[in-house]
Every structure is written in C-alpha cells, then in structure tokens.
C-alpha cells in the first residue's frame, strides 16, 4: 500500500513537470507561429520594425549563435582540463573539495551579477559593449556548469578500468586521454549541452556587456544583438504585433537549442558505442 502511494506520488510529479513543460512550449508555439515567417529569420530590423513594420531578427539569431558557440568553445577548452585536474589522480582531496565548493557557489550566482562584474571590468579598461565582452562573460557563466558536470561524469569512470590501463604501463596522461575521456564522452557532451543551454538563453549577463544592435557585428569589438534580449525588448512594447514577434523569437531560440541538443546527442551516440558498462 505504502509503495503504491509513493509510486503514485512520483508519477504525479512526473506528469506535473511534463504538463508545465508542454504548456510553456504550447504557449510559445501558439503565440509565436503567426508572426514567424521567412523575413523574420533572414532580415535585420528595418526602420519602424519595433512599431510592427518590416524586418526580422537575423541580427539576434546570428548574434546569439556567435555568443553561445564562441563562449562554449572557450569554456570547453578551459573546463575540460579543470575537470580532469579535480580528479584524485591529479589533485589532493582538500584542494579539489574547496574548488568544488567555489564552483558550486559560482553556479548558483545570478547571471546579473556576472553581467555587473563584466561591466565593471569593461568600464575599467575603457571597453564598450561588444561581442568579445559578451563571449567573455558568458564563458565565465558557463565554466562552473561545465566543470562540475564534466567532473561528475569523469569521476564515475570505474577505478578498475583505470587500473587495467595503468597495468599495461601507461602514464596518467595516456590513461586519461585514451581511456577515461573516451569512457566519459557521452556525459561530457551532456555537460557541454547543459552549459550551452544556459549560455544561449541568458539575458542578464549580456545586457551590459554585449549590448544590442540592429546590425550583424562585423568584428568582435562591435556590439551584438541576442535572442533573449530580442524577446525581452519586444515583449515590453505595447504593440501586439511586436509582442507576437517576441514569441516568434523565443520559438527560434527554442528551436536552436533543440537542434543543437539532438545533433550533439547523435554525434555522442556515434562515439559512445565503445563505452564499457
């Protein structure tokens, strides 16, 4: 009887979560689809766009892709070595635990704080809002997420698997690269996706650091638009047709996240057939 109650509760929670998720997607799709058309995707805002006239949000789509992919690539390059360094083969336990604590605090820090921090630094150096600034702040935002989730899956690699590799006369580095990373690859991809999702969807951190513009940036020192901010600006206008475009922008953002997620999972599956379970 007890078991049935708890099973029921679990099922109920699951359904609740799924319903809420479906609700969010349904609202975005229903309100966004009517405003969605080709010019929305391929054109930048023309004069009067924010009053409901012609144009699109290509500036924000391209901007978000630049920002999120740029920050993801830099984050991977930094996070992967850090995640490996936190393993007990490389760092003593106390230092590793201290680092984990700090990373967890950073993970929980609101993104507006990252934005403010980035802004102060930029003011100090006399920089203005730019693609580079946005990428740097997003990278800072993504690193704790990536490191902690990568580190978690890397530490799940069985000790015995490392042992058999060491027993063949390999160095730590050889075992790490040829065995540990291969075994942990699917989890590492998930970690990257998690951070990517947070990065591409974040508005507060890039508000001051990347700025907003109606143009596609020509260099990394130009300001850049982004989808979350496009949603934010359009939804706060009084015109209903512009609000509908906010939902269309959100729909595009959702679509990019799903596309990247599906694609990398397929890629992950290709490389994970050798995993030892």
């Amino acid at each position: 009887m007890e078991e049935k109650i708890f099973k029921g509760l679990m099922l109920l929670s699951l359904i609740l979560v799924l319903v809420i998720l479906a609700g969010i997607i349904a609202v975005v799709v229903m309100k966004g689809t009517p405003a969605l058309n080709l010019s929305m995707i391929i054109e930048t805002p023309k004069g009067g766009y924010y009053l409901g006239k012609e144009g699109g949000i290509a500036n924000a789509i391209v901007g978000s892709i630049y920002l999120a992919f740029g920050a993801s690539i830099i984050s991977i390059l930094i996070s992967l070595p850090v995640a490996l360094a936190l393993q007990k083969d490389y760092t003593n336990r106390h230092l590793a635990n201290l680092s984990r604590l700090i990373l967890d605090i950073l993970w929980g820090t609101p993104s507006i704080v990252y934005g403010a921090f980035g802004f102060i630094i930029m003011v100090y150096f006399g920089l203005r809002a730019s693609l580079l600034g946005g990428i740097i702040v997003l990278t800072l935002l993504m690193i704790p997420i990536m490191v902690r989730s990568m580190e978690e899956v890397i530490s799940m690699v069985p000790q015995e698997l490392k042992e058999v590799s060491y027993a063949l006369g390999t160095t730590k580095l050889e075992t790490t690269i040829a065995v540990v990373l291969k075994q942990a690859l699917p989890g590492i991809i998930t970690a990257i996706l998690l951070a990517f999702g947070r990065g591409i969807g974040d508005a507060a951190s890039i508000l001051f650091t990347a700025g907003y513009t109606d143009y596609i940036p020509k260099s990394i020192f130009d300001p850049v638009a982004s989808l979350p901010l496009a949603v934010f600006f359009q939804i706060s206008t009084p015109a209903p047709e512009v609000q509908a475009r906010a939902y269309a922008s959100a729909l595009i953002l959702l679509f990019i996240v799903i596309l990247v997620s599906v694609f990398s999972r397929l890629l992950g599956r290709r490389f994970s057939k050798h995993i030892v379970r």
Binding site: A167, G169, T171, A178, H274
Partner: protein, 273 residues
C-alpha cells in the same frame, strides 16, 4: 635466481597492517597460487608486485620486492617499464572503451613498438612453442600481433570476423580472455591474475585455466584464488596467507598432501574458509 623474490614485505593501509613480513621466492615458469580466506591480503600481495597498490590512498609498503634482481620499490625504478614487464588480469574483466582490435594493439602502440620489434616478438612466441604460427608475414605487423595474441589467449576463432566491433559486446568470459591477450601483447615476463575466473561461468573459467597451463612455458604466472580446487588444478607452487601472515608455502603437491601448519590443515580440510 628467480624472477620475483620478496624480502620482509609489509603493507599498511593507514594504521592498519594488512601484510606482515612476507619473505618468499616465486618460482619461474610455473603457476603460483596465492590462497587464503577473504580479507587475508591476497590481492594486496599480488598488487604489490606491479605497484598497482599505490593507486590507493594511504598505502605504505616496506621491505623489498625484487624482480630480476632489482628492488621495484627503489625510487629510481622505472614504473612504466616495471608494468610492461608484469602483466595484470583483474577480477572482473574490463575491456578498454575501444574495439577488440584496438584493445590488443593499445599496449604495443603506447610503448611505440616498431614493426621490427613486433615481428621479433612474434618470432619469439613461435620459438617458445606456446603458439604455432604458419607464416609470419611482414605486411602488417600490428595485424599479425593482434591475431597472434588473440590466438594465444584462445579467443581468435571466436572474434576473427568482428575485430572492429566494440569489445564491450563480448561475453564476460570472452572479455577475460581479451584481457589476457591484451596483457600478453606487451610481452610481459610475469602475469598476475586476481581471481581471474570469479566472475566467469565454469566453461569460460576452464578455458582460462587451460591457457594458464599452456602459458607457463613462457611466462611466470601468479594467480590469486579463493577456490581451493582451482589452486589444486592449476598451481605448481602455493602460497598460503592467513590474516596477513604468510603461513606456509611450497610445491603444490607437497602443500596439499602434507601441510605442516595447523592452520593450513584446517584450511585445506575446510574447517576454516
């Protein structure tokens, strides 16, 4: 002089002493079984022979382990060379996360063996008649090597048509023979096996035992087992540990027929397990 010789070896985990003052010579080209009840230090003793022990935290080893006359706990010892000389078979087989072929080629590639070295290695195998090799082609040395060592582990016929499949798809018995082939491919002098059949079905276990009997012509084999009957079947020499102490060691026949120590008699007769 035997390959492996232990002098006053003692091992502590933190403050707990798990092996006391072990002094014993392990005979060459024979199967030596380390037997004893659970938790008596068998695996610790085995892993002290290739220094896998030090992957655990807080381990302290004193005394000497001489392999080919060299103390492996000397700080100057080349750890990688030691591990290349001493192959290891774990309790549960762990294939490396790669194909069957790459599992075997992994060691030789890591140690950057040249084609010439590989061919010589194969000729050596052939000469010591553990393996019949029809024609040594110089075409692709690594291909040859993979075939030879898989044959030597008694696995070739089962996997020759699917060498590039993931090794994790093999059955657990096949995985253990793959692990054996992988260990042999770096051409060790000694093979350490930690209860290598404990996860296997009886038929796979029998295959492993049969390979051991064949391989001892060329390699010194040390096997930990808690199965007394297995020790009787495969071993030529026996080391009996009890509560971290070396109680008795000697030729297998003599050991089983006329044990000297009361604890050995009790263990063999099944009074203690």
């Amino acid at each position: 002089m035997p390959h492996i010789s232990l002098h006053n070896l003692a091992v502590n985990y933190g403050t707990q002493r798990v092996l006391h003052d072990i002094t014993v010579d392990i005979p060459d080209s024979q199967v030596t079984a380390i037997i004893g009840p659970s938790g008596c230090g068998k695996t610790t003793l085995l892993k002290s022979l290739n220094r896998l022990l030090e992957l655990n935290e807080d381990v302290n080893v004193t005394g000497d382990v001489l392999i080919d006359g060299e103390n492996i706990y000397n700080p100057k010892t080349d750890l990688l060379a030691l591990r290349k000389k001493v192959g290891f078979l774990s309790q549960r087989p762990y294939p490396l996360p790669m194909s069957i072929y790459d599992n075997i080629a992994f060691g030789p590639k890591i140690h950057r063996l040249t084609d010439e070295q590989i061919i010589n290695q194969i000729k050596g195998l052939s000469a010591s008649d553990v393996l019949e090799i029809d024609n040594i082609k110089n075409s692709n040395a690594i291909d040859m090597l993979v075939e030879c060592y898989l044959s030597l582990a008694g696995l070739w016929d089962e996997v020759k048509d699917r060498l590039h499949e993931p090794a994790s798809r093999l059955s657990i018995g096949q995985q253990q023979r793959l692990a054996l082939a992988r260990a042999l491919a770096i051409e060790p002098e000694v093979i350490l096996a930690d209860e290598p059949t404990s996860a296997l079905d009886p038929i796979s276990a029998q295959l492993i035992e049969r390979q051991f009997k064949l391989l001892k012509k060329r390699y010194t084999i040390v096997v930990v087992t808690h199965i007394l009957r297995q020790a009787k079947r495969v071993s030529d020499y026996v080391i009996f540990l009890y509560m971290g102490e070396l109680v008795e060691h000697g030729e297998a026949k003599e050991f089983f027929q006329s044990p000297k120590d009361a604890r050995t008699r009790a263990y063999i007769s099944g009074e203690i397990s």
